[in-house]
């Protein structure tokens, strides 16, 4: 393994840790609020290792939502990683199955974004080394900050409303996700329907809101495409 490429991965991911660390703290705090102990919280961060889905699942677990709804919600949130897997797969095709499995386990938004940019810019990069530099760093920081969050979360009074940090993290991810007309429509409709459906039984508001939002985005594609081509 090329050590220089590994170190380059670590260096490239360093600035992103400023966003990941508070996210991990919040995941730990949310786990403590949901009634998980330190082992369960860190166990979740190791086994699932996908922040947004962990936070949503913890919120639902804390409210005693049906476990099928918890699982379905987490899976829907993580579906976006299908796109990353498909996009990065050609660069991993020559590796052994065991290596592929290890790299897949470590796949995150940040590891995908940095690695694909590096692979496209430079054909000679040691793909595994660079990827591990990014992904292992993220993994270690995620586990440490989750644990720190649990310890912090159990010591802070409820009145401080630390659980409010969870939607704030999602908000910071939502803005770049609404990158064009149809995705903005998907967000606005999905959010509004989820607010209207907040009282739905089984905590289904999130899933209903997200589904309607996806349909709204698809429906918005056609008229917006017409507008876009008119300009050319």
């Amino acid at each position: 393994m090329n050590r220089a490429d590994f170190r380059r991965g670590v260096r490239d991911v360093a600035p992103l840790l400023l966003g990941v660390a508070p996210f991990g703290l919040v995941a730990g705090i949310a786990a403590a609020n949901a009634g998980l102990d330190l082992t369960q919280a860190v166990g979740m961060s190791v086994i699932v290792f996908a922040g947004a889905s962990q936070l949503a699942a913890l919120d639902l677990i804390g409210r005693d939502a049906p476990l099928s709804v918890v699982v379905l919600t987490a899976v829907v949130i993580n579906l976006r990683m299908l796109m990353y897997s498909a996009s990065i797969a050609p660069y991993f095709r020559t590796f052994a199955a065991r290596v592929k499995a290890g790299l897949a386990y470590l796949l995150t938004d940040q590891a995908y974004a940095l690695s694909i940019a590096s692979y496209r810019a430079e054909a000679s990069v040691d793909r595994v080394a660079y990827y591990l530099g990014v992904a292992v760093t993220l993994w270690v920081v995620w586990q440490l900050t989750t644990a720190a969050g649990v310890l912090l979360g159990t010591g802070v009074p409820d009145a401080w409303g630390l659980e409010f940090a969870v939607p704030l993290v999602f908000l910071a991810l939502l803005v770049p996700a609404m990158e064009d007309g149809p995705t903005t429509v998907a967000g606005l409709v999905g959010g509004t329907v989820a607010v209207a459906g907040a009282g739905l039984p089984l905590n289904l508001g999130l899933l209903v809101g997200a589904s309607v939002g996806i349909v709204a985005g698809l429906l918005a594609e056609r008229p917006m495409e017409v507008n876009a081509t008119d300009g050319h």
């Binding site: 996210f23 918890v70 940090a165 939502l174």
Partner: protein
């Protein structure tokens, strides 16, 4: 907020989410050669998953009903944080603005009204 699910159930749900998430991650990486690209019928809706899901998580947390009516502290803090998120696209700045405003409204403004 603490769950009433027993420990084995909590571990079970963590494990199931973990296995399914790993399957999603491995999907194309593991099957490349058999399945080279996402079918268009799946790819189009996938494009809207992040925005729709994230918004469905965010908005209900900002617009919440309490016994006394709309929770003003969360609404104001969420609104201001949205402005910061839109201008900076920075996780840390968004959290600082949202939590700072929440505490300001909850501990200083609302008690003074």
């Amino acid at each position: 907020m603490a769950t009433s699910y027993a420990d084995p159930l909590v571990w079970g749900v963590i494990l199931v989410i973990g296995v399914l998430t790993f399957a999603i991650r491995l999907s194309f990486i593991g099957l490349f050669g058999y399945l080279d690209e996402i079918p268009p019928r799946l790819e189009r809706p996938l494009r809207y998953v992040p925005a729709a899901v994230l918004a469905a998580l965010v908005l209900p947390a900002f617009v919440t009903l309490e016994a006394s009516g709309l929770a003003a502290d969360k609404l104001v803090a969420g609104g201001l944080a949205a402005l910061v998120a839109w201008r900076t696209e920075n996780v840390f700045a968004t959290m600082a603005a949202g939590m700072g405003t929440l505490w300001l409204v909850r501990f200083l403004v609302l008690p003074a009204l």
